[in-house]
């Protein structure tokens, strides 16, 4: 049966998207413009100025902070995505009647607040935490070692917190892949390893890229985990924005840092788009 789809008149289309656009303007565009305006506020006088940006880019400390932010984000990607991939693959290919339950369990941590989960890591990695206690009990350590309050603890907690996002992103892509392609490769004599390397992994690249982008963006904008797990030693853009807002009370500089962070989001989204386009054109 042929189904004819009647095209809606343009005015109706515009009317239908109006509420969504209006909500976006009020909740996203206006605050963003206000943030940009704040970042240009002068220290003296009334003329808008770029002094906050000049200060930001002239100061090597903030370049170091930007570098640390990107390194922590990339570390989280490098650890999280390979961990998420096998879980997502198992869930995507599972024929078990428990598949739905297992999928729900994989993303269940998202139901708990990031703060609670981070505190959980403080308990595990703390001086009297599970790991130190176990190592002392096994006589591997003579005295507790510092596992918390630093970059290591921050990355460990971030990876655990971001893992469900990685799983969801990859799972949604793998679920759309036709499993018969892998079966066909096997029938044609490919080993399981060859099927993985030659068929499955290349087809999974868009899903892996989406997961990488999501994990990276969430990692570099994360505040709570670096604050709680970093022990004051982890300087990233988000913690600097927080400090400038609440301690230094320099909203103009905090605005400049926020816009810079947003700029990094833009750069990485643009990079992601280009890579995805290239992958799609090759396939």
């Amino acid at each position: 049966m042929k189904v004819s789809v009647r095209k809606q008149p343009p005015w109706l289309q515009a009317l239908l998207i109006l509420p969504g656009v209006a909500a976006l303007v009020v909740t996203f565009v206006f605050p963003l413009l206000w943030l940009a305006r704040t970042s240009l506020e002068p220290t003296t006088g009334h003329t808008l100025s770029l002094h906050a940006y000049v200060r930001l880019f002239e100061d090597s400390f903030y370049w170091w902070v930007i570098g640390r932010t990107i390194v922590i984000g990339l570390l989280c990607v490098v650890i999280t995505v390979p961990m998420a991939f096998p879980v997502a693959l198992f869930l995507a290919r599972s024929q078990s009647r428990w598949r739905g339950t297992l999928t729900a369990l994989a993303i269940a941590p998202l139901l708990t607040s990031t703060v609670i989960r981070t505190y959980g890591w403080m308990v595990i990695l703390g001086r009297h935490g599970l790991i130190n206690t176990t190592l002392l009990w096994a006589h591997i350590l003579a005295q507790p070692t510092r596992l918390d309050n630093g970059p290591f603890a921050t990355v460990v907690a971030l990876v655990e917190i971001l893992l469900p996002y990685g799983i969801i992103s990859i799972l949604s892509h793998l679920s759309r892949l036709d499993a018969e392609l892998e079966q066909a490769a096997s029938l044609l004599g490919a080993s399981r390893l060859q099927v993985f390397w030659r068929i499955l992994l290349p087809l999974s690249v868009p899903g892996l890229m989406t997961a990488s982008l999501l994990v990276f963006v969430l990692a570099i904008s994360s505040l709570v985990t670096p604050q709680l797990m970093g022990g004051g030693r982890v300087f990233v853009l988000a913690t600097e924005i927080f400090n400038q807002t609440t301690i230094a009370l320099d909203w103009s500089f905090a605005g400049a840092l926020s816009i810079t962070l947003l700029g990094f989001f833009g750069i990485f989204v643009a990079l992601y788009q280009r890579i995805i386009q290239r992958v799609e054109s090759q396939s």
Binding site: F61, G231, F235, I247, A248
Partner: protein, 353 residues
């Protein structure tokens, strides 16, 4: 448990308002007035409500005071900025550094002795040109320690560099605590913080290898109670309050070299129609009776010269008499100018250095 004082009578408060005939007239005619006070949340709020607000409301039937807690001074400053055209807060309790910034931005009004007679009893360090507000209380930086680990109380700021406490020391110095500790350490090295803070920074750097955290989360008191850290720096008022409730675990002590107090200020931010009532409230909060009760219950140092504390309360707040004599009053006008640059130097040269 907080005990509200019963000494502040309506007669005393109204007596203090004798210079406010216009306001008294409005109050008598209206009978119902509301005042909004914004300030720190947590134990400070609890004590302020019980000691200051409740006694004011009892003395002034028909007046209702609402306390608006703020998470930190930044939130308070944000509220004052946003409500600049139509102020909703009548009295703002803020750190001295925020009080100075608020004056620069024209968010607070000047206080005068004609309207608030108790101002005459406030010393110069609690009332100065850089701010419009007035000191309400002072809170010393002290050493917070776990008495289960340190059976002998720490005596000196040098204890923050004890090798036997490696990874058990919390030094949250990326905020006012650092800005206050720096002049103390500088003075210990025989220098004046207004001339040169290098010796203070050098001493802080010596502590660095032993520090577990520079950003005690959720706070140093909780970490001490949970046995996560054994020693650190914190505010004495809250430390003493918690020590009273947990005498076998947490203690707070002012080291023998003396300390520096952070000043909590009262700032007039009321619109004209509520200015007189807000002034009356500030007068009440500065009265010796209220100041004494607040010091006794919350362990915040009084600012009114007429206050005489018991020896026990005085020792809890200022340390032993010889220690109390070494209390240093900062030039907050000077410190506020260097606040951000000092924190930047602590971040770069001590923490990540």
């Amino acid at each position: 448990m907080l005990i509200a004082p019963h000494f502040t009578t309506r007669r005393k408060v109204l007596g203090g308002l004798a210079t406010l005939p216009a306001w008294r007239h409005a109050w008598a005619a209206n009978g119902n007035l509301e005042l909004s006070v914004a300030g720190f949340h947590g134990p400070f709020q609890k004590a302020f409500q019980a000691i200051v607000i409740n006694s004011f409301e009892r003395a002034m039937p028909g007046v209702r005071v609402t306390y608006r807690p703020t998470i930190n001074s930044a939130q308070l400053l944000a509220a004052l900025r946003l409500e600049r055209e139509a102020p909703q807060i009548d009295v703002a309790i803020a750190d001295v550094s925020v009080a100075i910034l608020a004056k620069q931005e024209g968010l607070t009004s000047i206080l005068r002795e004609e309207e608030i007679p108790s101002l005459r009893d406030i010393p110069g360090w609690g009332r100065f040109d850089a701010m419009n507000g007035v000191a309400f209380s002072r809170d010393n930086l002290s050493l917070i320690y776990d008495s289960r680990v340190l059976t002998r109380p720490p005596e000196s700021w040098h204890d923050l560099g004890r090798p036997d406490l490696t990874d058990q020391i919390a030094l949250p110095v990326e905020d006012t605590r650092g800005v206050v500790l720096l002049p103390i350490l500088t003075r210990m090295a025989g220098e004046d913080y207004r001339q040169n803070i290098e010796p203070g920074l050098a001493l802080m750097r010596q502590f660095a290898p032993y520090v577990a955290t520079w950003n005690a989360q959720p706070d140093i008191y909780t970490l001490t109670l949970a046995q996560t850290i054994a020693l650190g720096v914190g505010w004495n008022g809250r430390g003493q309050m918690l020590a009273r409730d947990n005498p076998d675990t947490l203690r707070a002590v002012v080291p023998s070299e003396g300390s520096v107090a952070q000043i909590n200020t009262l700032n007039l931010t009321a619109p004209p129609q509520r200015t007189r009532l807000a002034q009356a409230f500030i007068e009440h909060a500065l009265s010796p009776e209220v100041q004494t009760a607040f010091a006794k219950v919350a362990f915040y140092g009084p600012v009114n010269r007429q206050v005489v504390l018991s020896a026990e309360t005085s020792e809890a707040i200022f340390g032993r008499p010889e220690t109390a004599r070494r209390e240093m009053h900062l030039d907050w006008g000077f410190v506020s100018q260097h606040y951000n640059s000092w924190i930047r130097r602590i971040q770069r040269e001590v923490i990540s250095g």
